[in-house]
Symmetry: C2
Subunit: 700 residues, 2 copies
């Protein structure tokens, strides 16, 4: 396999010498020496130079993040809600991108050598024999013909470009894990049916609608000759998949700040998070669509089925792996209870086990990010209950920080990329088409499914509006920018992300206010004294003026939750955590010995009082109104119960606990209602007691 290679090289090593006297004196000394040691020193020098450059690049990002943080603080301090921190990070990124692109001119020293070989192989490792010395090179990737000149021109710009795999292997996992770990689980499981429908059916529908619409655009562009390269239907579908991943960040941050209803929050958050996972797997299975023979871009049933198989296999495999590692961690923390005395070890173990989920999934060929999501959810549901209070705080804070840093890094990088990426293809027709398609796709996702799920129109509009595109969409689109089609997709995706984050993200607060005002006008006769947010929540629960229909929807859609809850409460929680009831009470009598063997001593102590750290309710003892199924228990400030059912008593019976669980939603409504405030308003308006009493009467 001998062959002739050509080396076209011009070398200049001391591109930017150093700024410092000492270093430059060293260099001078090096320049004069011309012996055999010269080469080694030159190589070392080059490696050092490259390392310095890398450090400087990373420093730019770190300083950018620092600046973002300071500005975020300023914004929060001044209560500006029209721009979210991620939007801000993008703006800073844009500014730095402009500076790098236009203000800094680096003389193009050609540090690269092009070897032309007529071989049909591109090995992962290359050994180059340079006059007797061997140098090792590693494959970085293919470069398109047009890029070759760019490489020598835009050395500086290419330097600030990260390997796209960094996003999938370093930045996305903590974000997604944090999402899973901080999911409000009670509300998530209660809305599981709706969330799954949105995430699976909705995403697939959205993907195909966007794909079809974009294919129409592409055909149009081909007709009028606006297309500069190949663009197949699979490319369109791929585009559909990547822009179907919605980002929970911006809208939810605002929701959280305004303390919007927990169910709407759970619905949006759960949908966005699962959405990402589905879109990721969907896009990889579209890439895997490979019909046999020459017609690589025609429809073929077998290949289609295979792609579908890939989707199911990868998704369920990642799911199983994530849950399995979560369960293993829960079991470890369940077994080694004394570990609670050493929070450092506990936190380290938790972190390592969660990380190993990602690595294990990647090593097995599944999708690490998806596995990490389900691992996070399992950890939150089981392991979290076994941790010491200090470790609970530590793990939460650790992932909160990692999530914050990774997210802002991605968004500032996004801004930077608009100017530093050098293969942008902006096609007006495609861009306009994409915006329309994204809108249509989201509408096709939300409205029909919302009809099935019996969610009110206000909720629907809000969800429609909250469909931002963010980190996952960006990461998926930058992963492969080799072909013309992919480059066009990438440029368009960037614009879609910018638009949704700035316009939709920035518009959330006004939108919320708009809906609230609308609600108030409609129901102004019914609830006069309660605050505006309250109305919004009532509308959701379909409380008529007579309160008859209340809670009917919830009960209907709760069958999935009911099955899951029973199984989880009776078997999984007792086996995996110390916070469930003893197994001896929940397993049938015939399994007595097994149950006794598996039950931890703590469980018996818990028998009377269920400790589930899962709760996100702040119960105010002086003002509680718990609804047990159809019985309403009201306690007044003195703590006397107006009903016979004891509050906080024995709740081992799973049906009773479930009812209580379901009823928490309404309870929380009441409690929350007293705390909700109008957006942009600092002072809290406690609900007057009169209106509260009125409400209780309505409910019972």
């Amino acid at each position: 396999m001998d062959s002739t290679c050509k080396i076209n090289a011009a070398m200049s090593i001391w591109r930017r010498l150093s700024l410092f006297v000492l270093a430059s004196s060293l260099c001078l000394c090096l320049c004069r020496a011309e012996d055999s040691a010269m080469e080694n020193i030159v190589t070392e020098k080059k490696a050092e130079e490259s390392h310095r450059q890398d450090s400087a690049d990373l420093l730019v990002f770190i300083l950018l993040l620092t600046l973002t943080i300071l500005t975020i603080w300023l914004f929060k301090h001044r209560r500006c809600r029209f721009l979210h921190e991620t939007g801000l990070a993008m703006i800073y990124g844009l500014l730095v991108g402009v500076v790098l692109r236009y203000a800094i001119h680096v003389p193009s020293d050609m540090n690269n050598v092009t070897l032309s070989c007529n071989v049909n192989a591109s090995p992962a490792t290359l050994l180059v024999n340079v006059s007797g010395k061997f140098y090792e090179y590693t494959l970085k990737g293919e470069i398109s013909g047009s890029e070759i000149n760019d490489i020598q021109d835009n050395e500086m710009l290419r330097k600030v470009t990260f390997d796209p795999e960094v996003f999938f292997n370093i930045l996305l996992p903590p974000i997604i894990f944090h999402a899973g770990y901080s999911l409000k689980r009670r509300h998530f499981f209660r809305n599981l049916g709706s969330i799954l429908a949105y995430a699976f059916v909705g995403t697939v529908v959205s993907c195909f609608i966007i794909g079809l619409f974009m294919y129409g655009c592409v055909l149009l562009m081909k007709q009028i000759g606006h297309l500069g390269g190949d663009f197949f239907f699979t490319d369109c579908l791929f585009f559909g998949a990547i822009v179907s991943a919605t980002d929970p960040v911006t809208v939810l941050a605002i929701f959280n700040e305004l303390q919007v209803d927990a169910d709407l929050y759970a619905l949006l958050f759960g949908e966005s998070v699962l959405n990402d996972a589905v879109a990721l797997v969907l896009s990889s299975s579209i890439v895997a669509y490979q019909p046999e023979g020459d017609n690589t871009h025609t429809f073929e049933a077998m290949a289609m089925l295979k792609s579908f198989g890939v989707f199911l296999g990868v998704f369920s495999g990642s799911f199983a792996l994530g849950v399995a590692t979560g369960v293993v961690t829960a079991l470890i923390s369940f077994t080694f209870t004394k570990l609670r005395e050493l929070p450092l070890l506990e936190t380290a173990l938790f972190f390592l086990m969660s990380w190993s989920t990602f690595l294990l999934a990647e090593a097995c060929g599944f999708t690490g990010v998806v596995a990490v999501l389900f691992c996070g959810m399992t950890q939150a549901h089981y392991t979290f209950n076994n941790l010491s209070p200090e470790s609970q705080d530590r793990t939460k804070q650790l992932f909160e920080l990692l999530n914050f840093l990774a997210e802002n890094f991605i968004f500032s990088y996004m801004g930077l990329t608009l100017f530093t990426f050098h293969n942008h293809v902006f096609n007006p027709i495609f861009i306009v088409g994409a915006f329309l398609a994204v809108f249509l796709g989201r509408a096709a996702n939300i409205y029909p499914l919302s009809f099935l799920n019996k969610i009110t129109s206000n909720f629907q509009h809000m969800m429609m509006f909250a469909g931002l595109r963010g980190a996952m969409t960006f990461a998926l689109s930058i992963r492969d920018t080799a072909t013309y089609a992919r480059q066009m997709m990438f440029s368009t995706t960037l614009l879609v992300v910018f638009f949704t984050v700035w316009i939709c993200g920035g518009g959330t607060t006004p939108m919320l206010s708009l809906f609230l005002v609308y609600c108030r006008q409609k129901y102004s006769g019914f609830l006069q004294q309660s605050c505006l947010m309250m109305d919004f929540l009532c509308v959701r629960l379909q409380i008529g003026p007579d309160g008859v229909e209340m809670r009917s929807t919830k009960q209907e859609s709760a069958w999935l939750f009911r099955i899951w809850y029973n199984f989880d409460h009776n078997y999984l929680k007792p086996i995996l955590t110390h916070s469930g009831p003893p197994l001896t009470a929940t397993l049938p009598a015939c399994c007595g010995p097994l149950a006794r063997c598996l039950t931890s001593p703590q469980a018996y102590e818990n028998e009377g009082q269920l400790k589930d750290s899962d709760s996100d309710l702040i119960l105010n003892d002086g003002d509680i109104s718990l609804a047990y199924g159809d019985i309403t228990v009201s306690t007044d400030a003195t703590g006397a119960h107006t009903s016979g059912t004891p509050v906080g008593g024995v709740a081992v019976n799973s049906d009773e606990a479930l009812d209580r669980e379901l009823a928490f939603s309404d309870h929380e409504l009441v409690i929350r209602g007293t705390r909700l405030v109008l957006p942009m308003d600092d002072s809290e308006h406690p609900l007057p007691l009169d209106s509260h009493r009125h409400k209780n009467e309505t409910m019972s």
Copy 2:
């Protein structure tokens, strides 16, 4: 510059196909397709394969760490102190190394291609033209002739080998920062003179003694023909520098657990930490020793001076940068006080600023690790006081976790390397010589300097014994293993680290007991009822039976501390933190307007009560005895003062505060004396009140 290249390649891409049906069906489909898309897919497949392999390798380490954590817990639980967690991590690493080396055999598929070019250049980026397509390759480093065959043989072993720069850029910085951040500052500054003497003079002395001794060994080896390659005096000096870096980890963990005297702790810790920094800069300035002309390995005064200049320049530059970033962070947290309401932003800012220190230093050509150390110390001294209590916890916990993970990772990797590194050169004479030299070097470091610093012989023996070699030594020795000399050094260094960590680390507890027993026998007549540890501490303070000499040494060596303390207390703390006295009180009257401008409103509030979170004392109000210079204030359980000086009153006068600061040492002695316990003993022996009274009388 055209030239002929040869490509010797044999390709087999599907080395280990996948384990999963879906993936293999995909591959089958790929195999059959032979169109132009083939190449792309092959490249993608290879990249995927390589990614999977990387994930699997990292997974091995993560699981190793998990196992280590579980075993550490078991050890702590069972109170086994003969083996520290780092020693344990090494053992696990060794076991995995043995398995990888001997149990797993990977068929040697040659994935590498060797291109031989007769050019005198090895560019950083290489473009290879493979039949019309361009692939980008990046330079990984030079490979010695002997390694070329190894590369193809030991693909598997090379895979688990990390780039040595990972240690310097990812793993060492958090360890060193954490060391700086968790330094007990009061004790550190009080012993600053001794610590600086040990760290600078001691390390340089140790380096040269080891270098000279090893050069003797090398000459001997040359005589009897045991040397297989070049070994110059600079190499010997380099070896001296890298094995002079002592590791605080193991011994200090045990010290901490046993609550040994804070001054001994500060002395050892400060010395070890600064030691690392000095050794690092020293080794790089030895490498920078480059005499002109042909005689590259002879002595030349100019080159020597230059090396010395490099040492001073790099060290002071890194120091200045580290302190500067720390001060900037302190100023930011001082200015944006409202940031305290958002601990997440505060923590993120702290983390980013500390990281940017590292990057800035690297980008400027200084040593990031050294800069990070001083940054950590500055952050702890100033920024820490401005943080909200929650952020103080968060930052501490974050760096504690990072430090823990990085440290255990390095130590398990160390164990692994003994079997997986494939260019070991074990030379018996060199190894024996190295052990002797390390012993001699440490002795020459500790004993003469201790004599100057008036430190008792027990302390000296303990410090001699505590000179473990750890992460820094390893990282320095693995950084460059290209030449024969460096390979021999690396293998020997590994053995030195193993020996010191296992034997010295494991022997700390018995050693401490030994010294204690010795002390007790000597002074048994003087303090009968106090616990053994107490004696040990008394010996250090040179309390004669009549208590006359007490505190004289401390007063003598405190002049450096006194100058520093005055400056820091009067000017730096008020400018950089909210915890100092107001500047208006400390600056001369002529600077009144400036002082008023710079003083924060909080400072006036603090005027009466100095809040310095620096304190590591737990004051028990019922049993306090504070010595103000020569006046002893004793409070009994009722809180009545037996002296007129108010406790906790106005202490703005810096002399008074300084006296109090200095006096804390003795105070702490008393307090600590009551809490110290014998090693391996669970129950605490509170000092009987009688002996305590006796002690107070002795002191006053």
